[in-house]
């Protein structure tokens, strides 16, 4: 029983470390930021997830007490990783890319158009001018 637990914990640690390594290697190797963003936000999150699950199993089986902190950390990381990725991509788009360089969408990129407040202001102005 002890051996199975140790095997499981060791496997999870090694898996998590390999995932983190692959994510960082991808960030080093890809050609531009939009592809570079892809590697760490997925792989590194999985790497930390592996380490956290390993720690949880370790303290549950070999030390004999349940710890909730890992769930808290992994939940926080899984919630915030997409937000940071989105923010980095958005800041990069606004600073380094022009709307012409982006692939076409049906109704354009909303992040480049005016804010809803300005749009409604313009709309109300045009409707009053019609009257």
């Amino acid at each position: 029983m002890h051996l199975i637990h140790e095997l499981l914990i060791s496997g999870l640690i090694v898996l998590g470390a390999i995932f983190a390594l692959v994510g960082s290697y991808g960030m080093l190797k890809f050609p531009n930021l939009m592809t570079r963003l892809h590697a760490p936000t997925k792989a590194t999150t999985l790497g930390v997830g592996g380490a956290l699950v390993a720690s949880m199993v370790y303290f549950l089986t070999l030390e004999g007490h349940v710890s909730i902190h890992e769930v808290l950390i992994s939940l926080f990381l899984f919630l915030t990783a997409p937000i940071t990725a989105h923010f980095i991509a958005k800041a990069y788009m606004h600073k380094h890319l022009k709307p012409k360089q982006l692939p076409k969408t049906q109704s354009g990129w909303s992040t480049y158009s005016a804010s809803p407040a300005e749009q409604s202001h313009k709309h109300s102005q045009s409707s009053t001018s019609h009257q």
């Binding site: 960082s24 290697y25 960030m27 926080f76």
Partner: protein, 89 residues
């Protein structure tokens, strides 16, 4: 056996951290540097947790949680600064 796995984990994560530092130094744009620092924080959380297993103590989880929070807040603040030229408007 766990000790061997932990040593491998420390080695791999140190290598990953070195790669992140290299990207933070080299990074052609400022966003590359922000991404590198964000990834560095996440890798460092993994290192702290593995060190907690190594020392057989749950003392380091608070440090990991604080690191996660400050990493997120600093990345968002950097991106907001680059987007709007100000952190809190």
């Amino acid at each position: 056996m766990i000790d061997y796995a932990l040593h491998f984990g420390f080695f791999a994560l140190s290598l990953a951290l070195l790669m992140n530092i290299w990207r933070a130094i080299k990074g052609p744009t400022d966003m590359d540097r922000i991404l590198a620092v964000d990834t560095m924080v996440i890798n460092l959380i993994a290192v702290i947790i593995l060190y907690g297993i190594y020392e057989k103590t749950t003392l380091y989880f608070e440090a990991a949680l604080l690191f996660a929070m400050f990493g997120f807040v600093s990345t968002v603040a950097y991106c907001k600064f680059i987007l709007r030229g100000d952190v809190i408007e």
